[in-house]
C-alpha cells in the first residue's frame, strides 16, 4: 500500500492554503533501472481535494510531475477545524486518501 501523504492546511483571513506532499515514484517509463531495463511508467494521474463534500481542486497529471510530488493551492469557503481530504489515483489503479485539518 502506498505511504501516507503529508497535508498541511492553514487559514489566513478567509483563504486556506493547502500544501500536499505525496509519496510516489512518478516513473516516466523513459528511465533505465540499475539492471539496464526500462522501468515501466507508473505515475499519479488524478488528484482531487475536497472540503466539506465540495471539490476544491482536481488535477490531471502526466509523468513529468516530480517524484514524491508537491502541490499547493488556495481556496475559500471553509473554517478552521474543517478537514481537507486529498485523494490520488495512479496508472496502476493504486490509490491513497489522507486528510489534513485546517489550522
Amino acid at each position: 500500500m502506498a505511504d501516507p501523504m503529508k497535508i498541511r492546511a492553514a487559514m489566513t483571513d478567509d483563504v486556506i492554503e493547502v500544501k500536499v506532499l505525496m509519496s510516489h515514484p512518478m516513473e516516466t517509463g523513459q528511465r533505465k533501472g540499475a539492471d539496464g531495463a526500462v522501468v515501466p511508467a507508473h505515475f499519479i494521474q488524478q488528484v482531487t481535494a475536497t472540503c466539506n463534500g465540495k471539490t476544491v481542486m482536481s488535477a490531471q497529471w502526466g509523468a513529468s510531475v516530480s517524484k514524491n510530488p508537491f502541490l499547493s493551492f488556495k481556496f475559500k469557503g471553509a473554517a478552521k477545524g474543517d478537514k481537507v481530504i486529498v485523494t490520488w489515483v495512479d496508472t496502476k489503479a493504486d490509490t491513497r486518501s489522507d486528510e489534513g485539518v485546517i489550522a
Binding site: 494521474q45 463534500g53 476544491v56 499547493s72 493551492f73 469557503g77 489503479a93
Partner: protein, 156 residues
C-alpha cells in the same frame, strides 16, 4: 459502477467513501480514471497538440499570468513552478515543458471558490521553454519562461 463513481467525483463526492469503496475492491479506479484522464492532451508532443487535446486553440500570450520558475535548475528532477492567473473566469491552469517527451505535465481545474493559483514541481530532461497555460472563458492564454537545466555534482 464506473459511471456512478465518476459522477461521484464530478459532483465532488465524498473522497473517503471512495477510498473505502476502492479499498474493498468494489470500484476499479484505473478504468474510470483512464477514461477521465485526457490521454490525447498528455500524449501530444507539441503545444498545439496539447491545447487541441484540451479542446482549445492557439493560446494568446498574456501578461495577466504570473509565472515563477527558476532561471537555472540545479537539478532537472525537481523544478519548482508557481502560476497565478489574474485573468477573470480562470477555469484551469496547466504546465507544459516544451522539450519533455510528453510535454503536458499537469492540468489543474480551478473550481468555484478556488483561487487561480498553484505551485508544484516538475521534471525537465533538458533546458527548455516552460509554458504556463491558463484557460479562461474557454480560451487559452500563455506565459513562457526558459529554464536552464545544468549538469551537476562531480559528473559521475
Amino acid at each position: 459502477m464506473n459511471l456512478n463513481r465518476r459522477q461521484l467525483l464530478k459532483s465532488g463526492g465524498n473522497a473517503s467513501l471512495l477510498a473505502v469503496l476502492m479499498g474493498a475492491g468494489l470500484l476499479k479506479p484505473g478504468f474510470a480514471f483512464a477514461a477521465d484522464w485526457n490521454k490525447s492532451a498528455f500524449s501530444a508532443t507539441d503545444l498545439a497538440g496539447a491545447i487541441k487535446g484540451m479542446g482549445g486553440s492557439e493560446p494568446t500570450p498574456s501578461t495577466e499570468i504570473s509565472f515563477t520558475a527558476p532561471d537555472i535548475a540545479e537539478n532537472g528532477a525537481v523544478v519548482p513552478v508557481s502560476i497565478t492567473s489574474k485573468i477573470p473566469n480562470t477555469q484551469s491552469i496547466s504546465v507544459f515543458v516544451e522539450k519533455n517527451p510528453n510535454p503536458l505535465t499537469a492540468v489543474f481545474e480551478i473550481a468555484e471558490g478556488t483561487e487561480p493559483t498553484i505551485t508544484t514541481r516538475v521534471k525537465m530532461g533538458q533546458t527548455s521553454n516552460v509554458y504556463a497555460l491558463v484557460k479562461a472563458d474557454g480560451k487559452f492564454h500563455s506565459a513562457v519562461k526558459e529554464v536552464k537545466v545544468t549538469l551537476g555534482g562531480c559528473g559521475g
